[in-house]
């Protein structure tokens, strides 16, 4: 029983790591209707910037500050060069543009900062600690804590600030929001900037776990099922989706893999997502899309 619990809790916490990436998606999708495939590249770019600066001997906070500036600058450039010319294009076109964008960001980051694997030490020892009957990874706990802080900060941003209220207006009805004078381009810059900040958090935690390397971009593919389960438009949904995907994935890996003879975790998340798609296409907490002809 404690083994089952351990697998479950480990999976739930791993799910939080997925959710961290998924939150970045949700932010951008809510504000601009763009499914941002470049989120993984942004995670890589943030982590690579941070770790390169650290290796140059800069302090933790300075490196973090510079990484922050880089991500915000990236957001501004992306809005100006990619998003603005593509206003009013079909969502699929925007998706493909972010696909191109992910190539540019990946290529450029690796060109400037190298493609080798960097160790990233956050000062958290990735040694499991014992809580009650089960062992839990400390890094997972740190990730869960940061995710909690992040969600709290974001929900404050959305509910208490002028920017947040404008963002909700845009998400609710872009036309009406525009007509009462909300500036779409500047909001997009802000949202992409915030998504950049989220990707720093995700990049640092993922980087600490598996090293800062190209494989970081693949977390995008783990975040997609999380989004489908939780809904594309809800930050809380991203967390809940992360829990569900993380838990079911690690349980499947333990109990289903031996039956099928191999690592089912490659695709199991997508199988779960598929079931959710067929039963509840808008996800647990997503808004039901109303299609107008």
């Amino acid at each position: 029983m404690s083994f089952f619990l351990e697998t479950l809790v480990g999976g739930l916490l791993a799910g939080v790591m997925y959710a961290l990436v998924a939150i970045g998606f949700v932010l951008i999708y809510k504000a601009s209707g763009v499914f941002n495939f470049a989120q993984g590249a942004m995670v890589l770019c943030a982590a690579l910037t941070f770790v390169t600066l650290r290796e140059q001997g800069l302090s933790f906070l300075t490196a973090l500050a510079i990484a922050l500036v880089v991500m915000v600058a990236l957001a501004i450039v992306v809005e100006r060069i990619v998003l603005r010319p593509l206003i009013n294009r079909p969502p699929l076109t925007l998706f493909m543009a972010t696909l191109g964008l992910s190539f540019v960001i990946e290529g450029l980051s690796q060109f400037l900062m190298g493609a080798s694997v960097h160790e990233l030490d956050l000062g958290i020892v990735d040694v499991p600690i014992r809580i009650g009957p089960i062992l839990i990874s400390q890094l997972d706990l740190a990730a869960a804590a940061s995710a909690g802080v992040l969600v709290l900060a974001l929900s404050l941003l959305f509910s208490r600030t002028r920017i947040g209220i404008s963002l909700r207006a845009i998400a609710d009805d872009p036309q009406a929001a525009l007509s009462i004078g909300i500036r779409l381009p500047s909001l997009w810059r802000i949202v992409w900037g915030v998504a950049g900040v989220v990707s720093i958090v995700a990049g640092l935690l993922w980087g600490a776990r598996q090293g800062v390397q190209f494989a970081l971009t693949l977390v995008v593919l783990k975040a997609l099922p999380v989004l489908i389960v939780g809904g594309f438009t809800s930050i809380g949904g991203a967390i809940a989706g992360g829990f569900i995907i993380g838990a079911s994935e690690s349980l499947a890996e333990i109990y289903l893999s031996p039956l099928l003879g191999g690592s089912v975790s490659n695709w199991f998340a997508y199988a779960v997502a598929l079931v959710f798609l067929l039963i509840r296409p808008s996800g647990l907490f997503g808004e039901k899309a109303v299609e107008r002809v």
């Binding site: 499914f35 060069i81 990619v82 010319p85 593509l86 294009r89 969502p91 699929l92 076109t93 998706f95 493909m96 543009a97 696909l99 191109g100 964008l101 992910s102 190539f103 540019v104 960001i105 990946e106 290529g107 450029l108 690796q110 060109f111 493609a115 593919l221 997609l224 099922p225 489908i228 594309f232 099928l260 003879g261 191999g262 690592s263 089912v264 490659n266 695709w267 997508y270 199988a271 997502a273 598929l274 798609l277 067929l278 296409p281 299609e291 002809v293």
Partner: protein
């Protein structure tokens, strides 16, 4: 699958008569192109055949497959690699276990199995669209890749689950040499291209484009939306399956499931974005582009900087260039390079506008 076997000649003849232009029927253009390519081995060395022309034709074929689904029917898919893998492994098993079957029949059967897989993974498209559909095709990508890697039966229990082409032969001729593999690929690509051109100009193609442009409206005017979506998945996967088999047996020789991973799906998607969504000719432009650009960059960097730039950095530059080009094309010319050429030709005005009219009849 009735549309694949639809009579091809009468249709193109009708459309040719309607346009009053007997020189530029697409089928003839394909034939002329194919004949030109058939004489190419006289000039091109083995390197060009093996490393450029064969992958070019196969990639164009895979591009046509994805274009039928994504460019014509508007159903986005990232499962191209998986459907290519299904075609490959199915063809392999037909060649291996039923050696009496002639090569083309095995290829067609392989394609049909891929079509079946396409229909199964296309079923969710009846309820969901857009990004959600991307997710289900990604499920196909990951699941099928895992399946072929996991169970040795598919690869005849070979070491590391890789498969090599059994002897390629047709009508007593050995096609294992570079020339044989080239002509096999060329003949298949030419035939399937003509079929594809006729599909998109048939009622089926019109139905697909109507669904792409607005599925509710298509349903209102009496187009069976569900059946047509599934048909698009089937035909598309049939093309991808055959392309996969050719990629494995005519180009690489030995493959495992990883040869058809997500990167392959992206590559095919880039072929159609660069060449042009909703254009058959565009697939050839796109495929040529993505295969030639890396070679060009290699040569340019080699002659300009000697060996100062290491291979890894070149690859990064290449990625930046591809990504930038895709963004540029999406902004400036969503219909791809083919449309760009069309505009150029119109501006220069030295070619008959008839060709433009034909090209545009299949545009968005």
């Amino acid at each position: 699958m009735s549309s694949v076997t639809e009579p091809t000649l009468p249709l193109s003849a009708i459309s040719a008569r309607r346009f009053g232009d007997l020189h530029w029927t697409p089928a003839r253009a394909v034939l002329i192109g194919a004949i030109a390519l058939a004489f190419l081995p006289l000039f091109a060395g083995e390197y060009w055949l093996n490393a450029v022309l064969i992958p070019f034709l196969v990639m164009s074929l895979a591009g046509i497959g994805l274009n039928l689904l994504m460019g014509y029917t508007g159903l986005a898919s990232l499962g191209t690699g998986a459907f290519m893998a299904v075609g490959t492994y199915a063809t392999y098993n037909f060649l291996l276990r039923v050696p009496e079957l002639p090569l083309p029949i095995s290829l067609v059967f392989g394609g049909l199995i891929a079509a079946g897989a396409g229909v199964v993974f296309g079923l969710p498209s009846l309820r969901i669209k857009g990004f959600y559909l991307l997710a289900t095709t990604l499920a196909a990508q990951f699941f099928l890749e895992w399946l072929f890697n996991q169970y040795g039966w598919f690869s005849n229990y070979s070491t590391s689950n890789s498969i090599s082409a059994p002897r390629l032969a047709f009508l007593g001729r050995d096609l294992t040499g570079p020339l044989g593999r080239y002509y096999l690929t060329l003949a298949t690509a030419a035939l399937l291209t003509i079929v594809a051109i006729n599909i998109v100009r048939s009622q089926t193609g019109r139905n697909w484009m109507a669904i792409r442009d607005m599925d509710t409206a298509a349903a209102v005017i009496g187009i069976p939306v569900a059946a047509n979506k599934l048909l698009a998945f089937a035909v598309s996967s049939f093309y991808c399956g055959i392309a996969g088999a050719l990629w494995a047996f005519a180009y690489l020789g030995t493959v495992d499931a990883r040869s058809f991973n997500l990167d392959r799906s992206f590559q095919v998607m880039f072929v159609i974005i660069i060449g042009g969504m909703g254009s058959i000719a565009g697939n050839f432009v796109g495929a040529a582009f993505i295969l030639l650009l890396p070679i060009l960059i290699d040569h340019l960097a080699g002659s300009a900087f000697g060996n100062l730039i290491e291979a890894g950095q070149l690859e990064n530059l290449q990625k930046v260039l591809f990504g930038g080009l895709i963004i540029y094309l999406l902004i400036k010319e969503p219909a791809g390079l083919t449309a760009l050429f069309g505009t150029l030709r119109r501006k220069l005005g030295f070619l008959p506008r008839r060709a433009d009219a034909l090209a545009h009849s299949s545009d968005q």
